[in-house]
Symmetry: C3
Amino acid sequence: MRGALTLGEIAARLGGRVAGDPATAVRQVASLDSAGAGDISFFSNPRHRAKLAATRASALILSADCEALSALPRIVCDAPYLYFARVSQLFNPLTTQAAGVHPSAVVGNNVRLGTGVSIGAGCVIGDNVAIGNESCLYPRVVVYAGCSLGDRVILHSGVVIGADGFGLAHDESERWVKIPQIGAVRIGNDVEIGANTTVDRGALDDTVIEDGVKLDNQIQIGHNCHIGAHTAMAGCTGVAGSTRIGRHCILGAAASILGHIEIADHVQVSACTVVTRSIRKPGTYTGIFPFDENRTWAKNTALVRHLADLAQRVRVLEKEKKSG
Amino acid sequence: MRGALTLGEIAARLGGRVAGDPATAVRQVASLDSAGAGDISFFSNPRHRAKLAATRASALILSADCEALSALPRIVCDAPYLYFARVSQLFNPLTTQAAGVHPSAVVGNNVRLGTGVSIGAGCVIGDNVAIGNESCLYPRVVVYAGCSLGDRVILHSGVVIGADGFGLAHDESERWVKIPQIGAVRIGNDVEIGANTTVDRGALDDTVIEDGVKLDNQIQIGHNCHIGAHTAMAGCTGVAGSTRIGRHCILGAAASILGHIEIADHVQVSACTVVTRSIRKPGTYTGIFPFDENRTWAKNTALVRHLADLAQRVRVLEKEKKSG
Amino acid sequence: MRGALTLGEIAARLGGRVAGDPATAVRQVASLDSAGAGDISFFSNPRHRAKLAATRASALILSADCEALSALPRIVCDAPYLYFARVSQLFNPLTTQAAGVHPSAVVGNNVRLGTGVSIGAGCVIGDNVAIGNESCLYPRVVVYAGCSLGDRVILHSGVVIGADGFGLAHDESERWVKIPQIGAVRIGNDVEIGANTTVDRGALDDTVIEDGVKLDNQIQIGHNCHIGAHTAMAGCTGVAGSTRIGRHCILGAAASILGHIEIADHVQVSACTVVTRSIRKPGTYTGIFPFDENRTWAKNTALVRHLADLAQRVRVLEKEKKSG
């Protein structure tokens, strides 16, 4: 926590309009449920109206059409969730690890570290790595040799950048011959990568993560992928090798994007969807198999395996109809 | 191994009835296949009757209705698998790492460690963490600042507790604004978490894992989740943010539970099932898309994408029938 | 890079026929796009004909039927991709980490290390582990006590070998009783395992990975699995406990293989396919639910949950037809 601000001071910095006493001081953000004196909360989901009524927050952030729902001191703005994010940044740092290289970290030769870089305990940075200003690597991150990170990059614990891609050729006796992975990984500015996510180095050319990309935990990015700027992926998603994903895409959790395809800008892929071919048009794409009570599922699913038969029987009925 | 016990001694501690010589001594558990002299094995699956006949075990654990299937010294009990688990605990420790903090571990400020805690090589424990009695962190676990673990918690290698949740707001130009994650993770007693599993800290409030929860490897628990006591999840499962899962649930491997939903107590979710909405009623729920030979799959699957057409054609046939 | 070779020297080592000047010297492999002077590239995908025309490579690898597509110095061979893999191995090492044990690694008691073994920074090797000749463990690998690796094994960062399998029994009050995992993991020769992949130790007997198996990143292998020689699995795949997979199988990315089943030799499982029962016959098996624009998906998917109804209605129409 960094000391209190009044609603007036916040609005002066971030915009919006104060309703109620602008001298109201807050010093931390909190949820409607757990907020107490000195906390500012936000309201954006109409389902939480009961929580709004019951909150003990000192102040609120909400949109104009909800302004009348509370008599608490409040900041009225267009995008309450975004506004709340910015208020939280006033009170809380984006990263919580001090600048500098922890003595237990292992840093290779010819590594370039920008100003204000933080390398946590147990990190291992290979030779010839470059890390931009103000970047923060939490404990136990590995960056293999030759990879580069931009400015303000955040890597959470367990991230592995630049391990070998999965490049294999079958020999005459169906044994695997390893293809040395001689590309690297290039990561832009303002990228955040979640715990235990892996980004493989390229086979020949580099794997590229553009500026502003946000990857959640346990994601796998295959070799030679190119992820466009400001794209976000939720946890457990996998992108197979040599796939190119556009800018401003959103991939839901546990989505799987197969290899060697292209996804346009502004595409949204729903959680758990398997993308098997290129997507050329912005929009939302989904492929979730519906769940059900086990018994009902078993009955319906057995039929999926005989859909071609069913369709054929309908065709026969239609034909008989016509001819009859 | 901790020295031999006779069947009589085992039954005195754990219950059950000895058939055959109660002075038979055993000193380790083993599978029917690999057991030898001094080993006790168990039989619970009727498909393994041939293995039972061939086993070289010195003794067996089985249920009353199987008692006559073997003439070996044996313990007869109601739940042979559970009994076997308890016998194994007599001969084998639950964790294999000595108490104490390994010199290569990095422990932050104001960390409270209970008695008998074991912190393995390369672990990193953030400031203000609390770890209860007899808990065991295998090598290379990271616990971020402010998180707490109960008693007898086991964390396997590569676990990351308390990395930032995936909290982002879109700004006016569709760039991502990070929301500082100021909650923590609270883990109860008797929780075990498998290798490379990640549990994110809460955005505002805490992520909570109640007593007795068992998480397998490579699981992802999003921020603000609440996992009820004695729930178990098999490997590769993901639970998205702000979801609340009840007590005594079982989630099969690679299940995906979407965010902001609720799952009642005593719910079982089959492996690889995507749960897209709240489940209010105990029971077993499934959503596995059936696999098939590739050719058959291709034929049937093409029709899934035209099911609405097929249903419409059936409606037409029904209508014609009626009117005809 | 290890110095230049002429096409003639390469063909003398690896076979194939040189077309054009055999004295052409190359010193590195590169993609058609990025190759320059001194690079040798390969051509195997007819879709890349434009790239072939534009490449600045000094030499090419291609098959006889493509020989006429370029006038560059070239090596003509039967399997250009395999040949390229072997050429790349002439110029690039298979692993990039020097032999020896990094001082920050922690090695237990009674560990046997073969000749030329490389143990990276922050690795933790438990007691009684054996590691064969020329094996390379990149930084931050954990091998639990009692496990063994063959020769020329490559483990990438974040790999965890031998954590406890997920073995639990329900007690009388539906609480979980842990079954000590007293087996180990045995890994053969020439196995490569990708970043953050986990292989659990056996419950009673060992988990076995045979020679030449290649596992990509973020894979989970459950306890007591047996993976046959020369089988490869792409990223994010999971194999549940006690499953036996044959030799020369290929599992696509994010496939899920349920527990206690058997998969024959030479089986290919498509990406994202859930294998719920044993596969006895070689072949390709698929179970991907098709994705679509969200609106179309929603319409078709609603019907999946009523397929049994639809089939019943078709049956009624057929019956009426017959009786009418």
